[in-house]
Amino acid sequence: MLLDIVVIVLRETLEASVLIGVLLSLSQRAALDYWWLALALLGGALGAWAYGANLGAISDWFDYTGQELVNAVLQYCIYLQLLAVAVLQYFPGRGPRRCLQVLLVTAVTSAVIREGSELFVFYFGFMQGGGEFASALTSGFIGLAIGLSAGAIAYFFCVSRRASSARLVHAFLLALIGAGMAMQATGLLIQADWISAGRILWDSNWLLDETSIFGQLAYAVFGYEARPSATELGIYCLAVLAMGAAMFATWRWSRHAPAAAP
């Protein structure tokens, strides 16, 4: 059971941790104060508690598909927020930097609510079932530490880039993480039968097992699915293209009209 707890906590924290690592490095490059992270973690923890405490009632909404819909909205919102972050990184002014800070807060808050609510429900159930809280907390701490290590690796990978390539690395990672979020949200709408999945395109589990640590890491960084459906892959490609096009257009605009930039 204790190993199970390590795995559960690791799985729930890995994705948010990698996202925080990348956004933290972007924040450092933009010379922002770190208060946004404290605010986002606090907001996320409170939101996760509120969402987790009401998950039973929320799940009953819309013919028992409320959980999928709320999670899908959260993940589409994260994609949109990352898209805005990716564009705003090309604007040096004070106003855009303030907007960037607000977006960092909302993106991380949404991610923590999404993943944290499941942890809240798990620990709540564990206590309800008479489990030993101290050992569960210790195991959870080990899972959290491994998850945070992945975030630290993402952070140090980004900050160790040279200034000339850092923006490109951030653009690339934001596009992949954002598209992964959009794809997961689409998967949830398929699960709720709100949209059709289309056919399963391939099975790459033999190449990279989804349950392995590398499979989980790939899931956290670019939304790896061993058996993607046509709809999921279509949304993934569309999300990458939309973000890429928005960043390219902004980059060109910022090069050709530097005086216009605030």
């Binding site: 998950l55 039973g56 799940s59 028992y64 798990f122 159930g125 564990f126 699960q191 039968d193 589990n205």
Partner: protein
């Protein structure tokens, strides 16, 4: 204008409602951190609706990598998960909060 819009949407809404009504329903019960039935047979190339009833007082997370499904079911509550259409084969699922006991399989024929 609104009336015309409603009339235009009516066939699509009816089609969606009919499609949902025709979806076969299969029941899975969670009790003592076990799935009943632990093996469920469903037809190939057909979308089905799983009605998952959690009779335990504690929450459980229905999860399957093969089916690409993940959903928390709170204690004493029920939920719905749509799966398929699937090719013939075996698709394992498990309860993430009680992995050592809550294991099951969807067999598609």
């Amino acid at each position: 204008m609104r009336r015309w819009l409603r009339l235009a949407c009516l066939p699509a809404l009816l089609a969606a409602a009919l499609a949902r009504a025709e979806t076969p329903v299969y029941e899975i019960v969670i009790e003592d951190h076990l799935f009943y039935p632990a093996e469920l047979e469903i037809p190939a190339a057909t979308k089905v609706k799983l009605l998952v009833i959690n009779r335990d007082p504690t929450p459980e997370e229905f999860e399957s990598y093969e089916l690409n499904r993940e959903k928390v079911i709170m204690g004493g509550r029920r939920t719905v998960i749509f799966i398929g259409p699937l090719e013939a084969g075996t698709y394992p699922f498990f309860g993430e909060f009680n992995m050592s006991t809550a294991q099951g399989k969807i067999i598609v024929r």
